[in-house]
Symmetry: C2
Subunit: 132 residues, 2 copies
DNA sequence: ATGAAGGTTCTAGCGGCTATAAGGTCAACC
DNA sequence: GGTTGACCTTATAGCCGCTAGAACCTTCAT
């Protein structure tokens, strides 16, 4: 049982920025914090855990809507796992699709990079290939 | 020698949207178009070619600043090729770095997806792994 | 008492568009 | 000549996930 901490301390503890925490509150990702008499936000371990959860989910590339959905599901032990699975699955599909695109892009850029041995733009194959 | 076309026709010809073309003008990527008496923008093949150039460069994932730089270089036949090369090279590096990240992400998501065989959130390994 | 390091709210900005509103123009048809 | 509908114009706001800045208040150590 540790005592409540300020937003700056929570930020440090979770490697987030204070502004980001306030932003999360403003978009409903975390509940409005309790306040000191002076209006300072106060947090407990519960909020710290929630923030860590958010960080991990964001690290998976999930957008804030998905994170919010996951948080909602996590809060309800009886919720079916399906919805969790499908959020992860869809993210995996998005990542794979993006990977495909990027791999193709890498090839194109690699080919472009190799093809130009000119000195000036006049003979540059890269510019040529962009102009056609 | 074809006659000048309107923004909508240019948009169709280059598979862009008219708003995007106006946006490019507003950020200085293309020069202000000549206008009819009524104020309609008019374009020639020159602008069409420039727009196609922009599209190809954007397709390589380059941002508008890089595209602008490339356009500037393309306009000057005596410019050294180096700068073109370095824009492409840096983009390739960015793409490769992003690829690395995404590949790692794919693994993580794949592992997560496999690990959950539960029915409800209470036993869900995904939620567990996000909460720790 | 003072100064630094924290906290507060509010507003605006990033990139690259996209959407909406409220209006002007043009060509075709009746 | 009047009307429709497709096109054009500008201006403004919104998207996402923060980030930066201004202007101010509170806390703590010296």
């Amino acid at each position: 049982m540790t005592s409540p901490i300020t937003i700056g301390q929570l930020a440090k503890a979770t490697d987030t920025k204070a502004v980001t925490i306030r932003y999360y509150e403003s978009v409903g990702l975390i509940a409005p914090a309790t306040r000191t008499q002076a209006g300072y936000r106060l947090y407990t371990e519960q909020e710290r855990d929630r923030l860590i959860f958010i960080k991990r989910a964001r690290h998976l590339g999930l957008n804030l809507d998905d994170v919010k959905a996951l948080l909602g599901l996590a809060d309800d032990n009886n919720a079916p796992c399906e919805q969790v699975d499908s959020i992860i699955h869809e993210q995996l599909e998005r990542v794979r699709s993006r990977l495909k695109d990027l791999q193709q892009l890498e090839q194109e850029l690699d080919r472009l990079e190799r093809c130009c041995q000119a000195d000036t733009v006049a003979d540059c194959k890269i510019i040529e290939s962009l102009s056609r």
